[in-house]
Amino acid sequence: MFRLFQVDPETGALHVNVGAIRRHAHSDALLAALDAFRSNNLYELWRTLFRLPESDERAHVVAFVSQLFHEMRHVVDLLLTPYGFHRIRMGFEFYEALPQFLATDERKIFPFSSWMDPGMRELLGGDGTEKSLSYSVAHMSQNRRSLIEADNRRFKHETGTMMAFGGDAILEALAFGWQIEWLQHPAFATDEMRTLMPYAFPDGRSGSEARDELTQFDMTYRWHYRLMGTLSQEQTPAAATLMYTILFAALCGSLARDAKPLDLSWDEEGPKRVSRVGARDVSDRLPAMRFRDLLGWFGNYIERGGRIPEKPLDSWELVNEASSLLWQRTIMAEIGEDIVADERLLAAWRPLSSEEVLPLRPCAAFADLVELRKALFTALSTDPEKILRPLALAKLIDELPAIPLCFVYPEGTGDGLPGTERLIEKLVALPPGLKPQSAAEPRGKSKEPGADTVLAMEMLYSSWQLKGASAAESGIKGREAWPTLLGHFSPTYKLALYGHRYRSMLELDLMRARESLNYGQSDVRWDEYFLDVEDLSASWEYFHFYGLETAECDVCSQVTDANGSIIASSATMRSSEAFIENRRQHGEHAIFFLEKDWSIWLVCSDCRRRYL
């Protein structure tokens, strides 16, 4: 899948595909915008773009920054809402258990869903492992995942498209709404913007108002538009504000308020048995259920003659009132209880190691995220408009220091952005005659390498930083824990739950996590189905981003367009034997780059039929 940004719901980190950005015709301006964001100037960036004269370059930067806004809204919702933070907490519960999980010399089956399935367990020789500690950890993670999957269940619409009303769908609706609120401002709604991002404008060529037909795009990002009819016949700004407040409130059922932390402590005889979370009824805390109930309540409210509030603050009060009547808790009370649960979890984790080791453990990074969450909660309780109004939220984001950013260079060449630390680096020997390429060298100046010698080229894949502030400035405690967390723990978690079927721009990390599991464990078994990668998607986002009508197929170099091509992930291409054979025929250099380059492939229809 072609992505510029991706939020990792299990760490709260924002992944940035710097490799793709660097290939853009306006890459200098895009990277400058990214740097302004890293410098805590998101708000000023918007103000500056607002005032610059219209141009094709500005339109590309505005579209790019709007995507950044989209993802940052995800980060805020993940951190602040109980559903979002539950996703993060799920990850950290696993990360904390991972060292002990790996330390036990027991048979382990991946992914966990296959281990939990009685049939697959027997097939993979896992019978009898149910009482092991590693099984308990896997069971806990799989249970958490099942809950999220139940909430995000997809339904088939009569148009043939799939839709969902769960937490993830709500997160997308909130982020998309926030993103287009920027784009629809008169200063940005220029002809260039309408061409670049037609779906952001109601009268654009993909606008749902202009057509009866619904696409998958509508079902993913704009499914809530038609539900606004429950509140008002017209899609007025007030109805939209109320809908977004309802969506936000749907994410605020505290899943953790009466949960108990896992006991993974050791005694003289080895690890204690894991005490599992008891059966709890969480149906009224899942976003899909809460959204349904809230929408029902507001449908009755309007029928009773209730008026839609004009101001965001009044909408906020009204939705809090509805929440109190439905579940005996306001939104603020739900988030407050959720944060108390986080404190309980931290209090249970902290004593498990010495003070020296503590800063290296995932719980140190978790503590930073909880602090970040508290800052957002304080902002929401003192002035809800800081969260509810887009410009105010942009200012608030600039004030939040500890958000982890992960920069990915899928092409594998070049240095990181200034101020970032490397997660993974490797020295490799180049085949004879190949020149090293480094983005650190000033463009336009070719630097001759020492010919005829085998050169070492630094292959950088990803680097990271905490947005906008050094540890000393912001009091961050988990700085030392983040690199391992982002580069090893998080990919291992994704691999353990989804195999290679997790769509990520960090495919190399998943591969390395698998190597690490295979070599570090004596008895690991894999369900082969989940090792097969099939990440194929439409290519229109690629053509939109680069402002292209046509482009060359990355395999055969034939010219193709958005209708005649797809995007295939690097691991997907690598899993095709026919394609590997094709690369071999192109010689040593083609194989070298295939090994090192983890960027996506634009594949024309002919090559797709031939190789995928």
């Binding site: 200098d28 400058a32 004269p53 000033p442």
Partner: protein, 189 residues
């Protein structure tokens, strides 16, 4: 690199790997201006003239500190900000000369800079009438033009009080040139 990159880079605290043709001068100028504007307005309110002069000193000789610079031709918002800086500086130079009795050498420089800035302001064309684009709203443009007229009026008083010959002597600029500036100013007023 032309276009909008310098404006965006001015918001960043990270060094960047940029091509040779990149306009570092513009980025440097914008980086110096942005954090100072609010401070300058506060100093103006507090009548801290010496503070204003010290604040903007790094930009004294910058060619971009001129509303008629080609860089600002299609950027009304930036032109408005440059004009504001010049107005603050002109008032501050003149007032500090009157109020704080600068030394002879400093005073000579003060007068010289005052003349240079005054001429740049005289040459600056008004925003109104004219369409205020999305970058600059009508109200801001009108206020800026009003302020410019007031500042130019103060410049005329300055010539009245000191006379062309004294100003020429203090600034070290030829009397004919000083007279030309005054005539241009009076014509504009």
């Amino acid at each position: 690199v032309s276009g909008i990159t310098p404006y965006l880079r001015a918001l960043s605290s990270y060094p960047a790997d940029l091509p040779e043709e990149y306009d570092h001068a513009l980025e440097t100028f914008l980086r110096l201006v942005s954090p100072r504007l609010l401070q300058s307005a506060e100093l103006r309110t507090a009548a801290d003239w010496r503070g204003i002069v010290d604040l903007w000193e790094p930009l004294f000789a910058d060619a971009l500190l001129d509303p008629s610079h080609p860089e600002w031709a299609d950027k009304t918002w930036h032109r408005c900000r440059v004009r504001l800086i010049l107005m603050h500086l002109l008032v501050a130079h003149v007032q500090s000369r009157f109020g704080y009795g600068a030394t002879a050498s400093e005073g000579r420089n003060e007068v010289r800079w005052s003349l240079i800035y005054l001429e740049r302001l005289v040459d600056d064309r008004p925003f109104m009438p004219g369409p205020a684009g999305p970058a600059l709203d009508r109200e801001t443009a009108e206020i800026s033009d009003d302020n410019l007229n007031t500042t130019l009026g103060m410049g005329a008083q300055w010539f009245d009080v000191y006379g062309v010959d004294s100003i020429a002597w203090m600034s070290g600029i030829a009397e004919t040139e000083v007279r030309a500036i005054r005539d241009k100013l009076l014509t504009r007023l």
